[in-house]
Symmetry: C2
Subunit: 268 residues, 2 copies
């Protein structure tokens, strides 16, 4: 039993899809979220830069006395998780492994699709984990750069998002995959669009949900879950533009963001 | 006569539309370009953050012995130009004033449209300059957040860009404007789409072109133009991901980017 909060960070707002799942599966846990809105996006930046940012974000969350950290950003999970785990003493989990495990569990024909930002796809991070578990897997990975701005514009269920999804998913439709990793934190908001475009034939994996379940396992194993039955507290920090975070964040969490502060992340 | 280079900076790759116009109108001038690809975009960041970045970018360009600086970024021109001009001794020009002047010159019915990023539109920078020159102007300003990622995806002339433009420009079609400021450095690549969607009824102002003309005037006035008739040299610096800059930059410049280096902008 440990009432300290869970730390979650992301390059921006997308990690709120992970927060949403943690709230659902671990309703007692306090959460401190950091969104690096001054330096978003990470997906187009080099591994070196992303790792430097990930360390700063982790050091900031540690000042909030967190008991575990979730790297809710696919790019940072892909390129920086090992270094973080080696350098810090608390449990740190990313979204890649839980997503990859779920895909391997879900597939029957061993044809797995992955969509994400350019950074995530080019890093081949999901691919590497999937191949370790299922060496004979056929993997089809495609970047979908417009999906993030579409979600942030609030256009997730419009004609534009369907047209863009048709374009990006064309090669996946021809590939006969039976499961698809939604490998970017924004993409769960496009679940319906992707499902419709793929004609409900493909099992969609939401790494945000798988990560929350993995976090639950780890807290239980280590006996550090919070079983106190009082309303959990949620604090949000951003490196820039808290107003926009508040406004757009509602679409992700389906409830209001109250405690939000701007910090100078370069200091950590 | 002065053979020192012109310094140009932008939050990323978009400023290359300004470089392209400088190459056309000032073919003898050497150019040093800095694209802040590690911290792009500026449009969603606070004025304070953008100004800090603009100072770093300027200090970097000064290490290259530039004789004048063009702030090719609408957001930085909008929020940081005055502070830069007060702090440094060489001519520094932005893209806002030249664009606003051209719009005022172009309009007959005094109804002027402005499109740009959220940052530029919310700053009301074009609006302020236009109103100073033409207080009775009716101004219609709208952000078009998806235009930048569409251009960077290389989708400038596709069905998706037409559909997105139809959506964004709907209120402008009803407003009876006769001129429109393309208030983001990426937007010149969407000139044809916007012109088609507005049914060729609106005069489109390209601030990149107007800025190059303004720079030409200033160099001539001060007698610091480069009249040496040898091939001009172009150097490019970015804060991250030179490979992507090289690849996408071709669409902007219509010729190859050769001399490109990555630098650590946080040091300046």
């Amino acid at each position: 039993m440990d009432t300290r909060p869970i730390g979650v960070f992301d390059s921006g707002i997308g990690g709120l899809t992970v927060v949403k799942e943690i709230m659902e599966f671990l309703p007692n846990e306090n959460i401190v979220y950091f969104g690096d809105t001054a330096r978003v996006p990470y997906g187009t930046k080099s591994a070196e830069t992303v790792t430097r940012y990930a360390f700063q974000n982790t050091r900031f969350l540690l000042t909030k006395d967190v008991k575990a950290i979730v790297v809710a950003c696919n790019t940072a999970s892909a390129v920086s998780l090992d270094a973080l785990q080696e350098s810090f003493d608390i449990p740190i989990i990313g979204v890649i492994k839980p997503g990859a495990f779920a895909a391997v569990k879900a597939t029957l024909n061993k044809k797995i699709g992955i969509i994400g930002t350019e950074g995530t796809v080019n890093s081949r991070a999901y691919e590497r984990v999937i191949r370790k578990l299922l060496p004979e897997a056929e993997i089809y990975a495609y970047p979908c750069p417009l999906f993030v701005p579409i979600v942030e514009e609030g256009w997730a269920n419009t004609k534009v998002s369907y047209m863009v999804a048709e374009e990006y998913l064309k090669p996946l439709k021809d590939s006969n995959i039976d499961s698809l990793v939604m490998g970017c934190t924004h993409y769960p908001l496009l679940m319906k669009v992707v499902d419709d475009v793929l004609e409900h034939k493909v099992k969609l994996i939401n790494p945000a949900r798988e990560t929350a379940l993995e976090l639950k396992n780890i807290l239980t194993e280590k006996g550090i879950e919070n079983s106190q039955n009082v309303a959990a507290q949620y604090e949000y920090y951003v490196s820039d533009n808290p107003e926009k975070f508040k406004k757009v964040g509602g679409n992700f969490l389906e409830h209001d963001i109250i405690n939000i502060k701007k910090i100078d992340i370069e200091k950590y």
